[in-house]
Structure formats: C-alpha cells, structure tokens
C-alpha cells in the first residue's frame, strides 16, 4: 500500500516536471530573457560537475559546457519532450565529453571487456575482502576528495561514466539508460563494476600512502 502511494506521488512529480520543461522550452523558443536565465540556473552547475568528473580537467570541462549550451540553445526548436529536458541536456553533455580529446585517449588506453557479467570477473575481489574489516572503513573528509578524484580518473571511463551519472549527477537507472543508450541491465552492471573498481583503487591508494591520516568510522 505504502509503495503504491509513493509511486503515485513520484509519477505526479514527474508529470509536473514535464509540464515545467515544456513551458520553459516554449519560453526559450519565444526568446524570453527569463527562460534563458532559468535554463542556465538549473543546468550550468550540474552540467559542469558532470563534465568535470568525466574529463577531470577544468578547462576542458568548461569548453564542453559551452558547447553543450550552444547546442541546447540552437536545437531547442527540435526538442519534442520525448525525453525530459534534464536527460536531453545530460545526454548532450556526455556526448560532448566523448568528443573531447582527453576522453578519447583515456578510453583507448583502457580497452577491456565492458559489459560482461560481473559475476565472471571476480578474481581481484579476493584481494579486497581480506579479513572482516576493510581498510576502506573511513569517513571521507575534504582532503580525501582529492583521492576520490584520482581514483575516478584511474578507473575505466565507461564504468566511471555510469557511477558519475548515478552518484554525482544523481540520476535514476532509467535516465542513465536513456542517456547512454544502453539497457537497464547494462546500467546496473556498469554501476556495480564502477563502484567496485573505485573502491579497489581507493583501497590501493590507502595502502600505498599510510601516512595519510584517515578518520576511522568508529571515531565519529
């Protein structure tokens, strides 16, 4: 019972967001100054955060975001509302990031079997679960964000992309599937593998740099 009410609520929220989108798009087509401001207010920050995490380079992310908004403004006439404005803009952002030089080189460097079942590739996991307590039991402070940034940079960009869309941009599996043009199962598997790879990278860097002072969970 409770879940069905919840579902109804979220459906209504989605419907009103859709109506808002179409209103905004109509105002953009008519050249309303406020609409242009609203679009930037809503999307420039998350689009930048997304591009930055995909490329890990501020100036390249800035270039990408400018390209994104140029495309959005120029092609707003073609937006038909078959996807939400949000997924449309993030999809353009991801595509533009793919075109960036940095992405291309990283991607080429890390050719692996991308969407095989994660159950088959568990060999490295044995190293992680050594003993009951993982060395990763830490609360992240600001300093450790740098570590996560580096770890994100080192994992396969295809997995990184899924994790970033899920955990940083905060999109649903359905939205991510639409943005990346892949199935829900693939989204699920990429997020799982991305998070595992990220955790592995972080554990590696924690072991390599014991001098880093970490705050144990229990000290909180």
């Amino acid at each position: 019972m409770a879940t069905s009410i919840l579902d109804l609520g979220s459906e209504r929220a989605a419907e009103s967001a859709e109506a808002d989108d179409l209103g905004l798009v109509e105002a953009l087509r008519e050249g309303s100054e406020r609409a242009y401001e609203e679009l930037l207010d809503r999307f420039q920050q998350p689009a930048y955060a997304l591009a930055l995490r995909l490329l890990n380079d501020q100036s390249e992310a800035s270039d990408v975001v400018q390209e994104v908004f140029l495309k959005v403004f120029r092609s707003i006439g073609n937006f038909r509302g078959q996807s939400s404005l949000k997924t449309w803009i993030y999809r353009i952002t991801v595509n533009e990031a793919h075109n960036a030089r940095r992405w291309f080189f990283r991607h080429r460097r890390q050719e692996v079997d991308l969407d095989t079942d994660p159950e088959d590739t568990r060999d490295w996991k044995e190293n992680i679960a050594d003993g009951g307590r993982s060395p990763f039991d830490v609360a992240f402070s600001g300093e450790q964000h740098v570590m996560i940034e580096r770890a994100l940079e080192r994992i396969n960009p295809i997995f990184r992309e899924a994790v970033v869309l899920r955990d940083i941009t905060d999109l649903s599996y359905e939205e991510i599937a639409e943005i990346l043009s892949v199935s829900l199962g693939t989204v699920k598997s990429r997020i799982l593998r991305g998070r595992d790879a990220l955790r592995e990278e972080l554990q590696g860097s924690l072991r390599a740099r014991p001098a880093l002072r970490l705050v144990p969970k229990t000290a909180e």
Binding site: A27, L28, R29, E30, G31, S32, E33, R34, Y36, E37, L39, L40, Q44, Q45, P46, Y48, A49, L52, R53, Q58, S62, V65, Q66, F69, F73, R74, I76, P118, E119, R122, K125, A129, G131, G132, R133, S134, F136, D137, V138, F140, Q144, H145, I148, V163, V164, R166, D167, I168, T169, D170, Y173, K188, I191, L192, R195, D196, L198, R199, L202, K217
Partner: protein, 245 residues
C-alpha cells in the same frame, strides 16, 4: 546466502534496485556478518562522498561566458520567431529595443581611420568623466550625440577600478588589465581575449552587463572589436567633449 552473493547485491541495495524478498535476505545477512557489514558501510560512505562532489562550483569565467552565450543566442532566437510570438513576449522585446538605444560604440574591424575616430569620439565622451590622452588626435562627436549605459557606470568621479574603453589599436598602454572584446552586429559581446593582466570582476561585469551600439559599415551594423582597460589612468593633455543626449 553466500558473502559473495551478498556483496554483489550491495550496489543494487543502495540504489533500491532489488526485489523486496531479496532485500530482506540481503539485509539480514549484512546485519549478521561483519565482512559484509564492512563492505556495506564502505559502499555507503563512498556513495555519500561522491554525492558531495556534486557541489563543484562553476568557474566565474565559465559562468560569464555562458551568460554572454545565452544573451547572444536569445537575440538570434528573437530574430527568428514570428511576430505574434514576439508580441506575446513584448516586455522582453521592448527591453531589447530600449537597450539598443543605450549602448557605447564598437569600432569596426576595417572602417578606415576616420570612421574609427568618429566612433571613438562617440564613445569617449559618453563615459562621463574626463579622459586624458597623450598627443591624442582630434575627436569628432556625432551631431545627434548619444547616451550610454556602460554597466551602470555613470559616476562623474574617476574610479580607479572602473574599466575604460579604447580602440584596440590604441597606442596607450600600461594598464594593469587589458581585455579585447568582440562585439557582434547586435551589439553583444560574443568573445573576448585577455591581452594582459586578468579578467577582474569589474571587467567581467562590463562584458556581461554592457550593451554596445554596433559599429556600422555603409550604414549597416557590423561586428567589431574594442578594448577594455583597467588600471592606472594614463596622464596626458586633457581633451574635453560635448555630450548631447
């Protein structure tokens, strides 16, 4: 239920992408198994750390560029929409027309010395404070005169931080910050280059907030370049101008 299987489900559990019955089983295992508990907690803290990274601030220079881009694209869009749509959006449109009357002048790329001087003559007195030039040429003021709204700069006082405008090929240098602006045929700043120094907040405001009367070639609006400078006033003989409005 094996630890392997449970740890495989942690990612889906965090995202609530797991069937109800399965969820209860996985949860029960996590509560009773310290190894899986540790994995679960590390997955949670990783997720919250990543969520925290969503707050990344947009660099000021990007925000400024996006505003310029938006205002440029908006004018482009306005020129394409139908008249009824334009009338529906009358307030914004009227504002745009009004803005068009209130702009400094952009110099044409290749308008010859005389037209450059004319444009510059139009430009300089409108800044509302005395401007000094060493051995400067004679400036002409357009008989009709014009007023200008330069990012809200109307003070008679010389503010050291206030950006000033000069031709791109001006021989007067020594300013701390120098930025060349490209003005399109609609009077919008479409691009800029930092020639020296840096893009300060005042220069940034000038770029974002100022509207320019586009330069003209044979009576038609055209794109052009002007230079915005900021820093110590260059001292020289003083010229005065008549401003008519």
């Amino acid at each position: 239920m094996s630890c392997d299987h449970v740890q495989q489900q942690i990612s889906a559990l965090i995202d609530r992408r797991i069937a109800d019955g399965e969820r209860e089983n996985v949860r029960a295992h996590i509560e009773s198994c310290s190894a899986c508990q540790a994995q679960w907690e590390s997955a949670l803290s990783l997720r919250s750390a990543l969520r925290g990274m969503a707050q990344t601030e947009v660099p000021a220079s990007l925000a400024a560029k996006l505003r310029v881009l938006a205002s440029h694209e908006r004018v482009r869009q306005l020129s394409r929409v139908s008249l009824p749509a334009r009338l529906r959006n009358f307030t914004a449109y009227a504002g745009l027309c009004f803005d068009n009357l209130m702009r400094p002048v952009a110099l044409p790329f290749a308008g010859g010395v005389l037209s450059a001087l004319l444009a510059f003559g139009l430009l300089v007195p409108t800044l509302s404070f005395p401007h000094n030039f060493v051995g400067g040429p004679t400036f002409f003021v357009e008989p009709a005169g014009s007023t200008v709204d330069l990012a809200g700069q109307t003070s008679e006082k010389i503010n050291i931080l206030a950006p000033r405008i000069q031709p791109v090929n001006s021989p007067y240098t020594g300013y701390t910050n120098v930025v060349d602006l490209t003005i399109d045929e609609n009077g919008k700043v479409v691009d800029w280059t930092v020639v020296s120094g840096r893009l300060t907040e005042e220069l940034n405001n000038l770029i974002v907030l100022s509207r320019f009367i586009p330069a003209t070639t044979f009576g038609l609006p055209t794109s052009g370049k002007i230079r915005a400078v900021q820093g110590p006033i260059i001292v020289g003989p003083s010229y005065s101008f008549t401003v008519r409005s």
